[in-house]
């Protein structure tokens, strides 16, 4: 099992009242799954992805990742863990404007202290694979949205994560670009990468092996 969330509660306090963002949430993810999270806007999809990605904490519950208790970890080991195993893809791509395509893809490797020669090889692989060798010296602002998202995915993949978290990866793209990205995800999944994506689109969700539905921070079992 890759990860397991048990009775997760996450809330914010507003005007003395607790507003639950995640409410008694349970989820098990096996290696090799391709999960789509669906639900209306504000239902907690992004929040859940952030919690799984260890970017955000929660108040109650247990979270085991590769059988290690994330909820009991210090910041340092947690960040080591996600650096090692998780890659992120965002709706707004979140590329670094000041860096070229090549440098953007290279960045996660820098933070993992990968050797220079190995970095070169890994980045070259990615550029090849996504057919963006010709664009490697361009800046993000010089690319189309679809191309930017390709770079975003390449960056997420370069460090060979076990798990890709994608928050509405095609939200800003047209349908043709969306299809390309989704097919890419399906291929990756076939190669063994676990993928969790949040999406509003039924057709995108259909690329997944399993869909879970959220409503007000809870699993909406009626739809599953």
């Amino acid at each position: 099992m890759l990860l397991q969330l048990k009775n997760i509660y996450k809330w914010v306090t507003q005007g003395g009242r607790r507003i639950f963002l995640l409410n008694d949430l349970n989820l098990e993810v096996q290696e090799g799954e391709f999960i789509s999270i669906m639900g209306p806007s504000g239902s907690g999809k992004s929040t859940l992805l952030n919690v799984i990605g260890m970017l955000d904490g929660f108040q109650e519950g247990e979270y085991d990742f590769l059988d290690e208790p994330v909820h009991a970890m210090k910041e340092k080991s947690r960040s080591k863990l996600y650096k090692e195993y998780i890659g992120f893809v965002f709706q707004q791509y979140h590329l670094i404007d000041e860096l070229t395509v090549y440098e953007n893809i290279e960045t996660p490797l820098l933070y993992k202290n990968v050797k220079s020669s190995e970095r070169k090889a890994l980045v070259a692989d990615m550029l090849d694979r996504f057919n963006i060798v010709g664009k490697k010296d361009l800046f993000p602002s010089q690319l189309s949205g679809g191309q930017q998202q390709l770079v975003g995915i390449a960056r997420a993949l370069v460090a060979k994560p076990k798990l890709i978290l994608a928050d509405e990866p095609t939200g800003n793209l047209n349908s043709q670009q969306s299809t390309e990205i989704m097919e890419l995800f399906r291929d990756l999944n076939k190669e063994g990468v676990t993928i969790i994506q949040a999406t509003h689109s039924e057709s995108n969700a259909s690329y997944g092996t399993r869909t879970i539905h959220l409503l007000d921070g809870m699993r909406d079992r009626s739809k599953e």
Binding site: L55, H94, D97, E98, T107, Y111
Partner: protein
Amino acid sequence: MFKNHIKIAWRNLRSDPKFSVLNILGLSVGLAITLLLFLFISHERSFDTMYAQKENIQRVLLFTDGDQGEETWTNAPAALAPAIVADIPEVKKASRMYRHNFGGNAFVKAGDEQFIEKDLYWADAELFQIFNVPFLRGNGQKALDKPNAVALSQSRALQYFGTIDIIGKTLNIDNGLELEVTGVYEDLPSNSTLDAAMVGSFKTLNFYKNPSWSNSSFETYIYTVDNTNIDEVVSKIQTTLNKNVVKEDQWYSFGLQPLEEVHLYSGGYLDSYSKRDGDINEVRNLTLLAFLILIIACINYMNLTTARSQKRTKDVGISKTLGASTQSLILRFYTETFLITGIAIALGIVLTIVALPFFNDITSRTIVVAEVLSPTFLFLLLGVWIITTLVAGSYPALHLSKFSPKEIMNPSPARKGAAKLVRKGLVVVQFAASVILIVSVAVMYKQMTFMQTKDLGFNPNQVLAINATVALENKSEDALLNKFKNNPIVQSVSLAQGYPGLGVSGRTLRKNDQDESGTNLQTNHSDAAIVDVLNLKLLAGQPLPRVKQRSDTIVEVLLNKKAVAYLGLSPEEAIGKKINAQLGSNAYIRGVVDDFNFTSLRAPIGAYAFHNRPIGEYKNYLLVRFRESDLSTTLSTFEADFKEIIPGGAFDYSFLDKNTEKLYEAEQRTAQIGLIFSILAIFVACLGLFGLAAFTAEQRDKEIGIRKVLGASVFGITKLLSTDFIKLVGIALIIAFPLAYYVMNNWLQEFAYRISIGWEPFIFTGLCALFVALLTVSLQSIKAALRNPIGALRKE
């Protein structure tokens, strides 16, 4: 429209209080410093401008060959003034001035009360005809016509008599002369070189009755008719000199210096009487400093404003799409700058006024609040306001207004890069300026410390110089000497004409009769104990003999090594030799002492002699070397001893080490002003850096978030944000160091005894700058790095 601009500007100011405070604070501190310096500079430049006939007044200069080339004295012989008025038609009037006792204090008795007067001059009646000093009582034109007349400043009149209606009252000077008050004049303003609090008539003095061509102790001002050719007058003075003095005795020649140059352009001239000496170099340095600080403050403003205005680029872009013209946008930014600089100036004025007493204290000037608020100065301020607005506002105004709306809202990387480059350049300039300041101050302090700790060849610590003029008047100097010898605190005591740091008599030392030019020899009439009192090192022979009869025609001389070297002798060879030094025909070398710094360390050591020739010079000072003990009890036992021998005599003393320190007052002052201002400059520079770092962190918020998600550590992010700035500081250091080295190397040339600059000031400054910059920047960076990245990424 304009009102609208002001309204928007005001809102912007309030919407971002942190930036506004940093901005206004930086600018107002910078402005306050600049204002203070401008005040000081304009005070210095205003010297002697209050005299109506200033364009017709010249001071006589005397040029003579010292040991190290030309020396310029501001004194002339007493015989010169009457001779040139008689001979040269252009010279309408001349007045000699002599500071009492060659600069010593006078004891003044007014009624039953005794005072120590530090500012008594003697001058010809023409003094107040040349310098139109307003008289409150009596007639200034005639006040000094007769012997035994004296004119007082208003404040002295009030101090001595409690009133200014004192014409005809009498004053007693040094328990001897009775002077009659003939006039009371308005206090001389603090920017008058003439600083007399009391002026006695020159006719009272022996110098008047027998004016000599050899004793050059009289500051001489002349009044020339309009359109005089000064060069011609100078050559006519030479003609008069040739008429009166045979060539062999002309150890000098003369020149003239216009009054307007007297205050600032007399650096290096010897024997000026006025205590208000200025220095054009100091004025130049401080002007430079003022501009540097103003620039730093303006850059600060530009940096912070452009940084902040980037946040408002969208707003500008929208205004443009809505049809706002470039001009109106430029006007809008200038209005905002004008408002902020206005507030900063107002605050700056307040700071200036608050800091003024302190500033006066360290500059020993008396600049008053009225000068800050005087119309001319306020006018100047308006100029500063407009210039600062134009300079400080130029970048934001032009930078943002010029571009098309699309480009502002979605800037191309190239343009963003250019904007960044400009900002970085500004930070570099700002830091380089601060670094130059700090290095300069560090070098100054190094030199000061060197001067204070250098082995002077004598020991000025634990030595008191007591003014013994009164004792001389009633021939009780031996009694005084014995009294002090018996005091257990006293180690040794000597009577001497002067002490190191105080001018003594200049004579000429010749190798033989063929040696026409000779060398300048400072001669000090003193006694046997002087070697002990000053801790001089006797290299050969004996100190002066203990007993000396007045009738004895033999003169013993103690030379310094330099003098013996001039004679071409070793110390041992010199002993017993006869010497040709205008000390009579029977002068013999009795001993040789090692060289010691008898003037400031600015000048190299020259030839010096102690002698016991009884005629000529008085031994005005009792020099007392005392043992370590409680200072106040020491002083009071000394005073009691003194009063016992001379009842009613005023006890006027100074410490030799303090006097030695006083030689470097101007440098101390510049160093002190420099220190304070460079601290403030670096503070202002740091405000700028702080603002910029905050801005950068904010601007790179998203990037920081992404990097954290990609695995960057807090340290990594801090490093990322800080290295850029540290690099800038590094560049600033590289630019500033050679400049600072050049400037300070020049400054050090003024000193014959100087430090080598060495590397410490640079290491010190470099570390300081880096430390301060790192502190400023990393505070911001760490804060940014610690934030949860989700917040940053959710924005948009």
